[in-house]
């Protein structure tokens, strides 16, 4: 019989585990985080609801109002009931969800770009640039965001033309809201990026890059930035939740996305008036906002644990 015992060299190959990249390691740890996985599943379901639901109802139906059908309680025909001018709430939560999720994601992209640029410039160059940028950051942090959002919504709001994307007409206020949420939320990220840059730029590999004549922009984007990706991703993930909340707050106050374009936030706007007579008006959009924010917070929490470079557990 052949001896199946592996040779020593084969054994050594087995013993040395292949080095894991940050992402592989991160995924291994993320998988252990039950709450984060649960959040991920909920979030995927919410996306299926908002984007898959479009196959059940047309947008025209979501904006179709029939005042003889107003304030109907949930029933087989209208599972979530109807609103104060007779629109179907289920259809509106589907199309509103698309806009709310879209606003959340795109405004965070703007926020992340602004935060990275400002934080990187301040941290890398230091000196006067750092002082000026950080004073601006401080000034922005000095006013509660909701006040800034209200003032900026007033400033950029007003008569914005409707826009057409992929054959669908949106209120131009969607773009306005995305821009103002992005413009009022980059400060924490900029501080994180700045702190990372401050410590990373003192490393030998940066000195080496400088010595070989690498340009500043090359050093910033190819040598330092990739090392700061983990905290940026964690912060940006959590920011999506905040952006969706910000949209909801500003639309709730009647300064956000203008009807007929629905969002979860503006569906809540006038619902407080029907607090006792039609609770389904605010319950469903409010619940969807809560679920979205909750699942993103779970995911962000899991990511923070998973991508923490100081953590040594697998």
């Amino acid at each position: 019989m052949n001896n199946q015992t592996p040779t020593l060299s084969e054994l050594a190959d087995d013993l040395i585990t292949p080095p894991l990249t940050l992402w592989q390691l991160g995924w291994l740890r993320f998988r252990r985080h039950k709450m984060a996985l649960f959040g991920g599943v909920i979030l995927i379901l919410l996306f299926i609801f908002a984007f898959g639901g479009a196959f059940l109802y047309t947008e025209k139906y979501a904006n179709f109002n029939d005042t003889s059908q107003r304030l109907l309680a949930p029933s087989a025909e209208h599972p979530f009931g109807t609103d104060s001018i007779g629109r179907d709430i289920l259809a509106r939560t589907i199309y509103g969800g698309q806009i709310s999720l879209f606003i959340g994601l795109v405004s965070v992209i703007i926020e992340t770009i602004l935060g990275i640029i400002i934080g990187a410039l301040a941290g890398y160059y230091g000196g006067v640039i750092d002082a000026i940028l950080m004073r601006i950051t401080e000034a922005m942090l000095n006013i509660p965001t909701i006040f800034l959002l209200i003032v900026m919504a007033k400033f950029f709001g007003g008569n914005v033309p409707e826009i057409e994307i992929a054959g669908r007409v949106f209120s131009g206020s969607v773009i306005v809201i995305i821009v103002i949420i992005g413009a009022t939320s980059w400060m924490y990220l900029a501080r994180i990026v700045r702190a990372e840059f401050l410590s990373l730029k003192e490393n030998e590999f940066i000195l080496a890059a400088r010595a070989t004549g690498t340009s500043n922009s090359q050093i910033i984007f190819y040598h330092i930035l990739p090392n700061t990706v983990a905290p940026i991703i964690v912060s940006s993930t959590l920011s999506v939740a905040n952006a969706i909340l910000a949209e909801a707050y500003i639309s709730f106050l009647g300064l956000g996305v203008m009807p007929p374009t629905a969002t979860w936030g503006n569906m809540l706007e006038s619902s407080a008036k029907y607090l006792d007579s039609a609770p389904w008006l605010w319950f469903f959009p409010g619940m969807l906002i809560l679920l979205t924010v909750l699942s993103i917070n779970f995911i962000g929490d899991g990511m923070r644990d998973a991508l923490d470079p100081r953590s040594r557990t697998i």
Partner: protein, 343 residues
């Protein structure tokens, strides 16, 4: 110490100046204040021009800002529209404590804000006390029984509470404690206003009207603080001095409340002090939903009517509060931690 405070105050001033310039620029597109003035529509062109001139809205933005900042009583202004400056202005500017006059109600801004501040402070202080009290209770309990069933349940619940938008908490609590309780014949809570006009402004009335807004304002902060206190306590409890205190046989109570909590208090106080003025942001939504006559509602009402002096006044007050609370937090920090010296 005094030198440090003075230095910090002087550092705060340029910051506030930058904030005021930025906000003033943002105000320029806030809308036409004359269009909604006093609830009347001004149709005659000559009236409109006269009003614009009287309010100083015809001046370039830089001059408007200057008048707002330092007043116009040092220069002659043209009040009758003939192009020749005739009388000295009457405004003193915000630096000399004159916040201007509301364009809508023609009342001094300080008076308008002054009427509302006590109501907002009442909400804020009450919710801060409730938040800190329960957060300490839950945070310390969870830290002492880490990974117990109770701790896990609480962590999950706190996560939900933390993700709750204020308006959703408000609407839910109103529905449960006012609408459903009324339906079930239980004693129910009032939902809007500060007191029942038929009963009058008695302390009891204000108290029962406060319960729901304070609850709504507290939920999110309570969740955030509980988590924070839990992790701070866990960190402190694993320190050597706590182990020493335990090993020399001190009663558990003394170890937790004297050795651990006192040291954990430091970061907790910082977070609370820095967050306190930001409660004003939450108050905007809460006051709107519960029709609470506070500063947040004043802000919303006057933003929608393009009333620059009131809006600017409130914003600057908030920004100043943030700066002042940062300094106060620093001072308390130094007082709590004898290792910190400012000189």
């Amino acid at each position: 110490m005094v030198r440090y405070i003075v230095k910090r105050l002087f550092q705060g001033l340029p910051l506030l100046l930058v904030i005021s310039i930025t906000l003033f620029l943002l105000m320029m597109n806030i809308g036409d204040p004359i269009a909604t003035m006093g609830g009347r529509t001004i149709t005659r062109q000559s009236d409109r021009e006269r009003l614009t001139r009287q309010l100083g809205l015809d001046k370039p933005i830089s001059v408007q800002y200057l008048y707002w900042l330092i007043g116009n009583d040092w220069t002659k202004v043209d009040s009758d529209g003939d192009g020749i400056p005739d009388n000295y202005g009457t405004r003193h500017g915000i630096l000399r404590g004159d916040f201007g006059t509301s364009l809508v109600t023609r009342k001094p801004v300080t008076e308008l804000i002054g009427e509302r501040i006590p109501n907002t402070l009442l909400l804020m202080v009450a919710s801060e006390v409730v938040t800190v009290f329960f957060a300490l209770l839950f945070g310390i309990y969870s830290a002492l029984r880490q990974y117990s069933v109770m701790d896990n349940i609480m962590t999950a619940l706190l996560f939900i509470a933390y993700s709750m938008p204020i308006f959703f908490v408000s609407l839910m609590s109103m529905y449960i404690f006012a609408v459903l309780f009324k339906k079930w014949g239980l004693p129910y809570l009032p939902t809007v206003g500060m007191f029942d006009p038929q009963v009058g402004k008695t302390p009891w009335q204000i108290f029962i009207h406060m319960i729901l807004p304070v609850f709504s304002l507290s939920v999110t902060y309570f969740a955030a603080y509980s988590r924070y206190i839990r992790s701070t306590m866990l960190e402190v409890l694993s320190q050597d001095y706590v182990r020493t205190a335990r090993s020399k046989g001190l009663p558990r109570r003394q170890v937790v409340y004297i050795h651990a909590l006192k040291n954990a208090a430091l970061p907790i106080v910082t977070v609370i002090g820095l967050d306190l003025p930001f409660l004003l942001g939450g108050a905007v939504v809460t006051e709107r939903i519960f029709a609470w006559p506070g500063m947040g509602r004043l802000f919303l009402d006057h933003v929608s009517r393009s009333d620059l002096p009131v809006v600017m006044g409130i914003l600057m007050l908030v920004a100043t509060a943030v700066v002042v609370f940062q300094i106060i937090t620093d001072i308390i920090y130094a007082w709590l931690d004898p290792r910190i010296r400012f000189d």
